[in-house]
Symmetry: C3
Subunit: 383 residues, 3 copies
């Protein structure tokens, strides 16, 4: 019977990968998504409610009111928290029950009740949440590529799943996309030959590649000798927990990576991508989105999806969760193999009670510099 | 693992609550729903076909023809019964097979076949069915509030689920709605504050409440002292098996309850409400339907459902079947607790071979007077 | 608990009926369906990809690329086969891997990989596939009624499920339809009385019927004495594996059967019909399609489906898979009983390691003459 590797793919609470991913912060929305209208979000298989109280504090709570289970999606956001529509119980962003208005004196036993909640922090235009054990909560990392801005640069965030090649919510397992980050050989085929040259011409050339594990994930170095003898050196990284650190494949300019994508597992069979990046114009991130046959993905006919496939088609085409037992690896799949081994190591660390890669508890360790970027050298010797 | 109380909520044949509810009559349609066109109905988890033969007799049968299983939904209703479209077997309203036209002499063994059927009776503009053990079939009750009409009054029936706060078919367990009948404290919150004053102003005031079990269910007495010193006394009843005996929350006039709602469990996760009431004008029942933000429920946008929630949102917001293990009761939930205890007692009676509350086999016992109504007294002392 | 006979109805690989049916060829598309655009087909519960390479060879392969599982639905059809969009592996129509372009020299180990594939052959305007054990593969049969053409006649194929009475894909088990072929008594009821006379007047008369098992299935002989004393003799056959050999019920002219329908089990709860027939005009097959109330099936309202039911309503009305435990057979069901017994015998033969009825390995045995047709005799004595 064909099977998939549940320990690498499933993200629910209590599963091995679910518990590993819960040791990190994940984006759950744009900063603007946390507002005075309750919003449903789904993260790692959990349905939650995101809001922002009148004091500006973002909150992320379990949707079922602790009283009688009505969804806080219908709750009213107030100065001090969110109030259930049914009997008016009021909770703050940390789940404390502040009022039970149907009972004498606002509820003599309201202190005994705590609405389940998760910690949130905001950075880079995104709201991040930590769904793991409270005592293991690490610092929310800072990334050099988003901290060190050039003149006129600022940070922009995008929630349209840039890099998925298609829809905002992609109906397949997150790992199918994340593995794609360490798979440089598909680029000349899928993006260079099948769909016409989706990216710039030099990306359509088959590269020489070196794969390596780093302290935070897997690094891919692709080398291409250009027609004029210069050498195009491209470094891509997959970083724990789900970061895609991928330099612009359109290569407007050379230098360090411009943006980070967080591949958010919505549940076992859906993911989406949040991106933050350095830009010098509003909307610059969104302009990175690919066109196929001159159209955006959502405008393609069924036949055009077949004739101009991209990452969305390739990865959803592997099924909701790909069947690992049916795979046949070749030498060119070394990046995927490395990434899976890296994940297995992190699973072991957590099972043994340790901290997985990249989890940091002091500001210095929580500041991360990537190697990723597009670089140009005069010759191989000059590298 | 969060769980729900199956014995209180599930209604299928063979389940404890399913068998308890099957000791009573339930409405399965308006009188006009039984006609010469076969109609699908779903009741207590059973799919059935309702029709009326040429002699005016309503019939309720199992949909699969006893011959080869084709649905009688495609049958032809005739003078003597319903005829299957496939091979023409004809059944009367009690499931007797009257003809097998593909066989010699109309089927020499047709007497050996009986299409499964249920007893039906009509009253108050509704067709009621009894799905329980034939030997336990009680009388179809009469209710004083629908029998004793004032001058110019007549009985009107409605199948739009008046009182659900939303759609005709509501996608949650019936008990979530029925419990709402004995929950007077939600009124000032959900209907008085959240959605603006859905009802009249005096309903938005938090009442003093007395709950009590009766011989037929649970009674709620809500007292409110009005600005002029008079006392508004409101009595609501939840009556076996699923009756909502709720006086008009718009309080056009004081006096005994005007209508009865039967909360029909369609299956474990859907219900609908049939109502019969005394009216003096055609369409008067339908005019009781609430408006939210000046619109009917089906016209609301998703955002308006959030900003102007009503019973539909509060109760479907508890999920398809609420998770009882996750509830935290307060003193104000006493009515719910009483109702569940009342149901537990009825389950025990049936398990012990007895008759549950309100099941009557003589005309006198089958005639029921409610206490429910909106009443006005000059002062508390005058009550 | 009501049950169905899984061994007669379920068609998946490894099930008794699934393995029996896999000993025969089945149509999987019109010849034109195999083209340079990959096409999804579903047969006997298996999802497959149909295409035709640049050399004109039709191919039928497992959809998941043997490399990393991306669907070949997004593949590019080339001169030598189909190429996966993700990493460009190229397979020929027999699943040989011809290229792995991301690896040195086109993949040094590409010979070790075989994409799962099935044998196909084309005839009568259809592509037939054999999904069984390769060593048991029989010849694709020839049928006299499609080989021996009259002057001006040619073969036309149709994929619209002629004879289903409704949609192209019918949401019920294939056997519900196939049994209908040996059920002549439903014709005067369903097609002669219920829906008006769908066919010609003489078909609405209740026939005298003789059922018999043949070496290839079940034969039904229906005799009707016409008003002028002549005798209308109609022979219908159900032939292994799923052939409906049904003379035109509109009886344009007398003589041998004009067409064959293959009832293709898409999976356990869906089927479709492919038809090939002798015609003298383009589109003649399609004109056989019934009208109900003057409309085509897809134009009918819900009420018209009830008032003018046909085979589609009768057979889908039995449910996704009918519940055999609930049936009550009469003498007129003898054809169904014979057909089920015939199938049981074939299941036994296969279980015992033998070949089922109609499987042929030499050209002579693989040439089949049917008895089916509409015939007219001057009198009973002249038969």
């Amino acid at each position: 019977m064909p099977t998939y590797r549940a320990e690498l793919t499933e993200v629910g609470a209590g599963t091995p990968m679910g518990e590993l991913l819960r040791r990190y912060w994940h984006p759950v929305g744009l900063a603007a998504d946390a507002g005075e209208r309750a919003r449903k979000v789904r993260v790692l298989g959990e349905d939650l409610i995101l809001f922002r109280d009148g004091q500006g504090r973002a909150g992320l709570v379990y949707p079922r009111c602790a009283h009688r289970g009505t969804s806080l999606y219908y709750g009213k956001v107030e100065e001090r928290g969110i109030r259930c529509c049914y009997h008016g119980w009021l909770y703050d962003v940390q789940g404390h029950c502040l009022e039970q208005p149907c009972d004498e004196g606002g509820g003599p036993r309201r202190d005994k009740v705590r609405q389940p909640w998760y910690a949130v922090e905001e950075r880079y235009g995104l709201v991040f949440a930590y769904l793991g054990p409270p005592r293991k909560k690490p610092l929310l990392p800072r990334y050099g590529c988003l901290e060190e801005l050039g003149p006129g640069e600022f940070i922009e965030a995008d929630d349209s799943s840039l890099g998925s090649g298609g829809a905002q919510v992609v109906p397949c397992n997150w790992l199918q996309h994340w593995e794609n980050v360490v798979d440089p050989f598909h680029v000349p085929i899928l993006h260079g030959s099948f769909s016409g040259a989706q990216f710039v011409a030099q990306m359509a050339q088959m590269p020489k590649v070196e794969f390596s594990a780093t302290e935070r994930g897997v690094k891919v170095l692709s080398l291409r000798t250009l027609a004029d003898g210069r050498v195009f050196r491209r470094v891509t990284e997959a970083v724990m927990p789900t970061l895609r650190v991928v330099p612009n494949p359109r290569i407007g300019s050379y230098g360090k990576v411009e943006s980070i994508g967080w591949v958010l597992p919505i549940d076992d069979t859906h993911y989406r991508i949040y991106v933050s990046g350095r830009v010098s114009e509003q909307g610059q991130l969104g302009n990175m989105r690919s066109k196929m046959n001159g159209k955006s993905w959502s405008e393609l006919t069924e036949e055009e999806h077949q004739r101009f496939p991209g990452d969305y088609e390739a990865q959803t085409g592997q099924g909701p969760i790909t069947l690992h037992s049916e795979e046949h690896f070749a030498a060119s799949d070394k990046g995927i193999a490395l990434l899976r081994r890296f994940l297995e190591q992190q699973l072991k660390k957590v099972a043994a009670g340790g901290d997985p890669a990249g989890v940091a508890f002091d500001e210095e360790s929580a500041y991360v510099q990537f190697e990723a970027g597009n670089f140009l050298a005069d010759s191989v010797a000059a590298l």
